[in-house]
Symmetry: none
Subunit: 210 residues, 4 copies
Amino acid sequence: MTASETRLRADAQRNRDQIVAAARQVFAEAGPDVPMEEIARAAGVGVGTLYRRFPDREALIRAVARESFAQVLADAREAAAEEPTAFDALVRVVGRSHQLQASVQLALVSERAKEILKGDPETAASRDALMAELDAIVKAAQAEGSIRADVGTGDVAILFSLVLRQPPAVDDPALLAFERAAAVMLDGLRSSSGSPLPGRPITGEDLRIS
Amino acid sequence: MTASETRLRADAQRNRDQIVAAARQVFAEAGPDVPMEEIARAAGVGVGTLYRRFPDREALIRAVARESFAQVLADAREAAAEEPTAFDALVRVVGRSHQLQASVQLALVSERAKEILKGDPETAASRDALMAELDAIVKAAQAEGSIRADVGTGDVAILFSLVLRQPPAVDDPALLAFERAAAVMLDGLRSSSGSPLPGRPITGEDLRIS
Amino acid sequence: MTASETRLRADAQRNRDQIVAAARQVFAEAGPDVPMEEIARAAGVGVGTLYRRFPDREALIRAVARESFAQVLADAREAAAEEPTAFDALVRVVGRSHQLQASVQLALVSERAKEILKGDPETAASRDALMAELDAIVKAAQAEGSIRADVGTGDVAILFSLVLRQPPAVDDPALLAFERAAAVMLDGLRSSSGSPLPGRPITGEDLRIS
Amino acid sequence: MTASETRLRADAQRNRDQIVAAARQVFAEAGPDVPMEEIARAAGVGVGTLYRRFPDREALIRAVARESFAQVLADAREAAAEEPTAFDALVRVVGRSHQLQASVQLALVSERAKEILKGDPETAASRDALMAELDAIVKAAQAEGSIRADVGTGDVAILFSLVLRQPPAVDDPALLAFERAAAVMLDGLRSSSGSPLPGRPITGEDLRIS
DNA sequence: AATGAATGAGTATTCATTCAT
DNA sequence: GATGAATGAATACTCATTCAT
């Protein structure tokens, strides 16, 4: 019985994963309003199964967002741990996350998705953890003098989110253009830059407002 | 007769303008899929009136996009003519266009809107004219040495589009954050910046592909 | 003043006639549910003018039907007066009315039109007059021995209505096919025919039921 | 699995059949423009179900027409096989088809329906098969000398269509009138008839034009 | 549990009719 | 009077969600 239950769970888990993966992809391609049936089809299951796992669209959006944030967080931690300098870590996070944009995009682009995620504690937790990690990297970069002192973690997060929003696929010729844009932005973050920024540094905390 | 005809037209024109203005606003707030009725309500007319002017949603989207591009174009021209340096013109375009983001956003954010606009020659013409103007400004800025030589007009357009995409309202506290982001990007464009960019400069022509 | 009033009336009358003529044509082509605006366009007037003359679609349908019946009636009378035999008159009525099919069709084809006309006394009067004329012709034909005795005026009316319903235009190659069909039916009406018909002769009165 | 699949299909099929039957009836009563909801109600299903089976109104019209033609064809084949003479077969086809008028009517009466069916290969096939069957019967009747030699299958088809167009219900007192009309037409087709017909015989092929 | 059929509420669009010009 | 713009009710069609199999 335990065995069968376990096997069942494995099945169910696989199903769930397929659905989330399919949803991530389909959301990225067609926005958070795609017909549920399309997602189900992409996942290779019936709508009924989808609804068994996720009571409604919002739950599915939450699941996708949670997973996306978790992946980016893991990536950031890995980068911080493995790269020689904090600046290299920042570069790697932007670069890698390019491959994750589709994931994060959801949380950034759609007004509706934002509304939905606003109330989700688990997403909030991922987000906070991610922001904390980013904060550490940014501060380290400033300590090592590789990025200007007048930016806060929030500033960096916003800059990153701008680039991550755009979804050229990995094989899209437009990808290069966005890598260049990211590079220009990173150059803008370098300490050497001259013009003073308006207002005061935006912190991670500041972003919680929006 | 002419008088009455003219007066009638004036009325109709006012109505039409209200509709486009309302649509621009509502699209910005709720995306290109908002109920037509909501747009009509915002414009203070009945749905029937909206449909008399614009045979379907696509026509309305096109109208909003045309007008938006035209406004940004006018702005860019003005900036180029009035600002002392090309770099100042760039700064002004980004700054001003912030007030137009809602307009441009439509053309940038939604996959659906993109598809619709792809086939519209008038939008294409506005876009080309805008790109030409931007090209002139960028080249002048490079000639005056205020921005790095290894970026093309397409690079600048992409960077601008990244910032313009985000739609914090003028009274939104988040606005400052985006102005800072824009400033960082402009700093990244300054000649003084160090790291070489990957690939080759993206031209305005390159963007026509996408 | 009288002059101006008269001129006005003439104008209005012309307008009215144009509208009825256009409606007849458009009804024939597209059924009694065509958009009122299409009729107005065909008549070369604005919808407002159309509605000034005819308070609603039903009134317009009635007007078209009245005129159509009146024309067929006039035609039948002329045929009866001018043709040498009653049978020739029948032939002529069917033939001529071919040109009028569009007119009569309205009253025959659409369930909705039937309903509307059912309550119109003027249409009823035209119809009765037409039936009386046909009755005279049929009886004369039977008296002269040119059509079988076991048919009533109602039978003939139904047969005629069957052929008149079909609307091939005068320049339609299908017109010949329908003239042949009419000829076969007339042959069927000739006395020489053999098989006894079921039931009893249908009179003009019988048709008032439907 | 097969069992459950089959049972499910059976349910769906029953539903589909109910929808087509209801549509046939409702189309006959109120024309091809009746609200889809009315059809759904008549079929005892929700609109959604109707649209699941038939993507739009045209698909439903096609389905009704296909089935109607198929039924008339089956009837004609049966008549040809069972009746002692070809003429009897003709009589039976007209008589039986009276019960099917509602079916055929759709394809004959509405301009819109015609347009829709014009492009449907399956309807065209049914129509061709029906015409072939009728052709055989007509030629046999001419061979046995029971109908005049100067008519083609197309002539007969048109005559039949004239009678079949009219839709008195089986319990309608007007039914007798139409049976009489059909009888007169059949008499007109008998060889004994006298007057020469205009033009040349209309064949089945000729009708394909329209 | 999985499936996909059924439901009906939500939205786009059309068109009869009214009314300001 | 004539015009055509405005209105909103009617109807087609879609899709989230539920439920029988």
